[in-house]
Symmetry: C2
Subunit: 149 residues, 2 copies
DNA sequence: CTACCTGCAAATGTTTTGCCGAGCA
DNA sequence: TGCTCGGCAAAACATTTGCAGGTAG
């Protein structure tokens, strides 16, 4: 997503429109993993006329074209991040909802090995580790932390 | 889920009822990863009077109590499997929707290491590898295989 | 000018919930 | 008998889609 909106659209055979300009800009600037409603919130701060449906449409377009990545992290909504960074997986702090990115060549290698052993090649993969701070006591049945907003 | 419905309910302080009996039986017998609607379909073959809402309620109950595990695998719905087997992760064949279970101590160990390095302990984790058969040619932009049902 | 886009609202698909009668312990 | 359950239908969400007017190329 470091390329200009114009470049990306040209490459994908898409028209450069106002809404797309804003949505792609917001995605490029995001350092977190916003869901579609949050994206729309940010987009409408720049251009209030953009509809939620357009965000959904654009986001799906970009996901199909591998420009962004979709995650789910257990809760209902889909969350997105631009895919231009190197591949990485996620640590999710179940107490705060914080998301830490990490990468392990070693794990990736083992995955390849496992897939090959089963007669497959990897198309993509997703590793999410749900964690809690080391210093905290394990709470018996802590309520699920919903919204961070 | 190898324990009897009675045992499980007693352990969880839940009443043994007809619907629960059937739902837990279906879950115990499932060797795949059915979603809630599919579970309801199977349950109503045994007792047609059980409502979908009850399946949702029971399934959430059992998930909270760690009797079953919930997965999402990208598509909208939640899918379940009983949690009494040893922990494992999943290989998902993107062409057929087939799900293969696997386990790697080595990967698990690396995960622990990564979490610790970041100051966390693991609560749970989820590794999904989306794969395609080795013998097939990589199709440029293959349509996504949706429903296997 | 034409095909692609978009806002709007309605439709869909999934999961949750209120109500109240019914059944387990 | 009391408190939990469960069926039913409506609500609550997240996402998709039909349509009709707008606009990039």
């Amino acid at each position: 997503m470091s390329d200009s909106v114009e470049e990306i659209c040209r490459a994908l055979n898409l028209r450069v429109t106002g809404p797309r300009r804003v949505i792609m800009q917001v995605l490029a600037e995001a350092t977190d993993h916003p869901d579609t409603v949050e994206l729309h919130r940010r987009v409408t701060q720049i251009d209030p006329s953009v509809a939620l449906a357009t965000v959904y449409r654009t986001v799906k377009l970009l996901e199909d074209k591998k420009i962004i990545e979709r995650h789910t992290f257990g809760d209902g909504r889909a969350r997105y991040e631009s895919a231009d960074h190197a591949h990485h997986d996620h640590l999710i702090d179940v107490e705060t909802g914080d998301i830490i990115e990490f990468h392990s060549d070693e794990i990736e290698r083992l995955q390849e090995e496992i897939a090959r052993k089963h007669g497959y090649k990897i198309v993509s993969h997703k590793l999410e580790i749900f964690v809690a701070p080391l210093d905290k006591q394990p709470k018996s049945t802590s309520r699920k932390a919903r919204k961070t907003s």
